[in-house]
Amino acid sequence: MADIYTEKVKDHFFNPRNVGEIKDADGVGTVGNPTCGDVMTVYIKVKNDKIKDIKFKTYGCAAAIASSSIGTEIVKGKTLDEAMKLSRDDIANELGGLPAIKMHCSNLFSDAIRKAIKDYRKRIK
């Protein structure tokens, strides 16, 4: 098979950043479905409308794990509105590209972070 993953994907897959859970998270988002082969949960701590801390857990292929890892890096410190706008293409671009067949994996993170932010906003209402 082609070496389908960029060095950046491999770096984030083999050394994923921000792995784990936040016990007292302000928001949590879980997306995906084990039947389809990927599930991601993201935990956020929010301060001044900004993402102060973030952790994730992902079940899935290398693309899914790397997308999760880099996604957490991107949004950390960003405002919630900025994080809401993050697209799958942003993540794929940041990774130096993903194979066409794996593009759906980069959805995982953007969907999960949105869900976590919505969760947070619901809680503070």
């Binding site: 897959f13 083999f14 994923p16 792995v19 879980t30 084990p34 039947t35 389809c36 082969g37 990927d38 599930v39 991601m40 949960t41 857990k57 992902t58 079940y59 899935g60 292929c61 290398a62 693309a63 899914a64 794990i65 067949i101």
Partner: protein, 389 residues
């Protein structure tokens, strides 16, 4: 870093002796076996010698062997060749083919294609070990059935089908029996006469021969139609200039396979059993396929809460070459049809790992895997939201 290859069911390296045997046919005995001159005669003789060696491992006769470009072509030719001839002959024997639901795509996709062409295909289910049930087969047979095509041994989970019983049924109902022997050849003794096999597919690159060559055993008297058209080589069944080097390599690989069969089998079985024993110590890990009726070189596991492509990559990083039935590593994002057919839910199927052993594996390799695999699994589980222990 030392690399450990444990993907012998995907393909094998070419044996040193096979390479040596082929070598003179590239530049020296390079003639076209169909040519009248001395260059042609040298090549012709090599091909016929190879044909005998292939026949030998099946207890077949040399003139029952024809050469192809690999397992896929052999499967296509064996199945479509019989089907189309049957169609031509005013539907002498109906239009029903029986196969299993765990065939290799070379058989399965061929059957699906024939289905679109108006043939009626019955896909037998398998039990949790991957075995078809003889009762199902007998029940599926009707007077319209002209062909049974069921693999000798499965490429993913290693299960060996009840070929002897299938052959008896085929014989009893006077139905042709094709079997995809690609994974079984040189890993278990095969006797096409005793087993009532009418057609059997072989692929060279799975048995330490070169890639791009294969063979189809066609029992004397069984008629098939060719799929390609041209110069009329192989009694008109397979046109194209003979791939002399490839054929010589396949012949030598069979010769060696026959000589080494016993030794290979006991060595592989020993290593495989060690590997299975070690691996099943990992929490929530399972063996796929039949515990005993399985290829001597096949170990296939599921690990709960992790995904196979990630596992393959982590192992690759540690120098271990492995495979998986996970959807994520397939072209169509579907989990393996074999793992699904034995009843695994997609989640489990995603977490499968196939390790297939070969002649060059040693006890040290098994030990190395035992050192590495539990940690890799644990690390992936730490990452997994599905793992909450």
């Amino acid at each position: 870093m030392k690399r450990i290859y444990m993907d012998y069911s995907a393909t094998t390296p070419v044996d040193k002796e096979v390479i040596d045997e082929m070598a003179p046919y590239f530049g020296k005995y390079f003639g076209n076996p169909s040519s009248i001159h001395s260059f042609g005669r040298d090549a012709y003789d090599a091909i016929e010698k190879s044909r005998s060696k292939i026949a030998d491992i099946l207890n077949a006769d040399a003139d029952e062997i024809i050469f192809t470009s690999g397992g896929t072509e052999s499967d296509n030719l064996g199945i479509m060749g019989v089907a189309y001839l049957n169609k031509d002959k005013r539907k002498r024997k109906g239009n029903n083919i029986i196969t299993s639901s765990i065939e290799h795509p070379a058989v399965l996709e061929t059957c699906k294609y024939l289905e679109k062409q108006g043939f009626n295909i019955k896909y037998l289910p398998v039990d949790k070990y991957g075995l078809i049930r003889i009762e199902d087969l007998e029940e599926a047979i009707s007077k319209d059935t002209f062909l049974i095509t069921i693999m000798y041994a499965n490429n993913e989970i290693g299960t060996i089908e009840p070929i002897n019983e299938i052959g008896k049924i085929a014989n009893k109902y006077d139905v042709l029996f094709h079997t995809d022997g690609v994974q079984a050849v040189c890993k278990t003794p095969i006797d096409v006469k005793k087993l009532n096999i009418d057609l059997l597919s072989i692929s060279s690159h799975k048995i330490y021969g070169p890639k791009g060559v294969g063979a189809l055993y066609i029992r004397k008297g069984v008629k098939i139609r060719s799929l390609t058209h041209g110069g009329g080589q192989e009694k008109g069944l397979r046109s194209s200039t003979y791939n002399t080097t490839g054929i010589v390599g396949l012949g030598k690989a069979c010769e060696l396979g026959k000589i080494r069969l016993k030794e290979d089998m006991s060595q592989l079985k020993y290593l495989r059993d060690e590997l299975i024993k070690n691996t099943l110590k990992i929490e929530l890990s399972y063996l796929n396929g039949h515990p005993i009726k399985r290829l001597v070189n096949n170990a296939n596991f599921c690990f709960e809460a992790i995904e196979g492509e990630s596992l393959n990559m982590m192992l690759d990083e540690k120098g271990i070459a492995s495979a998986t039935g996970s959807a994520c590593s397939s072209k169509n994002l579907q989990a393996s049809h074999v793992l699904t057919a034995i009843g695994l839910n997609p989640e489990k199927a995603h977490g499968s790992l196939r390790l297939t052993l070969g002649r060059e594996n040693t006890e040290r390799d098994i030990k190395y895997i035992d050192n590495v695999l539990p940690d890799v699994v644990e690390n992936l589980r730490k990452l997994s939201p599905l793992w909450d222990r």
